[in-house]
C-alpha cells in the first residue's frame, strides 16, 4: 500500500516536470526561463530523493544535495548577469 502511494507520488512529480519545460520553450524573457529552470530543479531534487529511498541507497541523497547547491549558484549567477552584466 505504502509503496503504491510512493509510486503514485513519483509519477505525479514526474509529470509535473513537463509543465515548466513548456514555459521554458515558450517563455518570452530570460527571467521566465530562469524561473522555470529553478522549479524543474526543485522537482528533480525531490525525484532524486525518492529514487534514493526506493533503491535503498542513502548515497544518492548526496547527488540531490550537490544538485541543489549548483542550481542555487546558477540561479544567482543568472540573476546577477541579468541585473548588471558579468
Amino acid at each position: 500500500m505504502a509503496n503504491l502511494l510512493y509510486t503514485i507520488a513519483g509519477i505525479i512529480a514526474f509529470s509535473a516536470l513537463f509543465l515548466p519545460l513548456l514555459r521554458m520553450i515558450k517563455g518570452p524573457t530570460a527571467a521566465d526561463r530562469a524561473v522555470a529552470l529553478d522549479v524543474m530543479t526543485i522537482i528533480s531534487i525531490s525525484l532524486i530523493a525518492l529514487i534514493a529511498a526506493m533503491a535503498g541507497r542513502a548515497i544518492y541523497l548526496d547527488v540531490a544535495l550537490v544538485y541543489a547547491l549548483i542550481s542555487f549558484l546558477g540561479v544567482i549567477a543568472v540573476a546577477r548577469y541579468i541585473e548588471r552584466g558579468l
Partner: protein, 110 residues
C-alpha cells in the same frame, strides 16, 4: 510508512500545482510567486515523507530540507529584483508597484 507515503503524495500534489502555476500565470512576478512558494512547500512535504517512511536517511533529508528552505527564497528574490531592474512589464491588472515608486523618489532626492 503509510504516514510518510501520504505526506509524499500531498507534497507531489503541491509540486504539480506549482508547475501548473508556472505555466498558467500571466506575469513573471506571478510565476515567481507560484513557482517558489508552492514548490518549496511541496518539496518540504515530499522530502519529509521520504524521511519518515524510510529510516536510515533522516539526517541527509533534514539537511536537504533546510537547504531548500534557506536558498529557495534567496534565489527567487534575486531573480525578481533582476527582472524588475530589466523593466519587464507587469500585467495590466497590477494595482501598485512600490519598488518603482521608491526608485522614483530616490531619483528626485538626488
Amino acid at each position: 510508512m503509510l504516514a510518510g507515503s501520504i505526506l509524499t503524495l500531498i507534497g507531489s500534489l503541491f509540486l504539480l500545482l506549482g508547475a501548473l502555476g508556472i505555466l498558467r500565470m500571466p506575469d513573471v512576478y506571478n510565476r515567481m510567486q507560484a513557482g517558489t512558494k508552492a514548490t518549496t512547500l511541496g518539496s518540504i512535504l515530499f522530502l519529509m515523507g521520504i524521511g519518515i517512511g524510510y529510516c536510515g536517511c533522516v539526517w541527509k533529508v533534514t539537511i536537504l530540507i533546510l537547504f531548500i528552505l534557506f536558498t529557495n527564497p534567496l534565489s527567487s528574490h534575486a531573480l525578481a529584483r533582476a527582472a524588475h531592474h530589466m523593466k519587464i512589464a507587469l500585467t495590466n491588472r497590477t494595482v501598485i508597484d512600490r519598488l518603482r515608486e521608491d526608485e522614483a523618489t530616490e531619483e528626485d532626492k538626488c
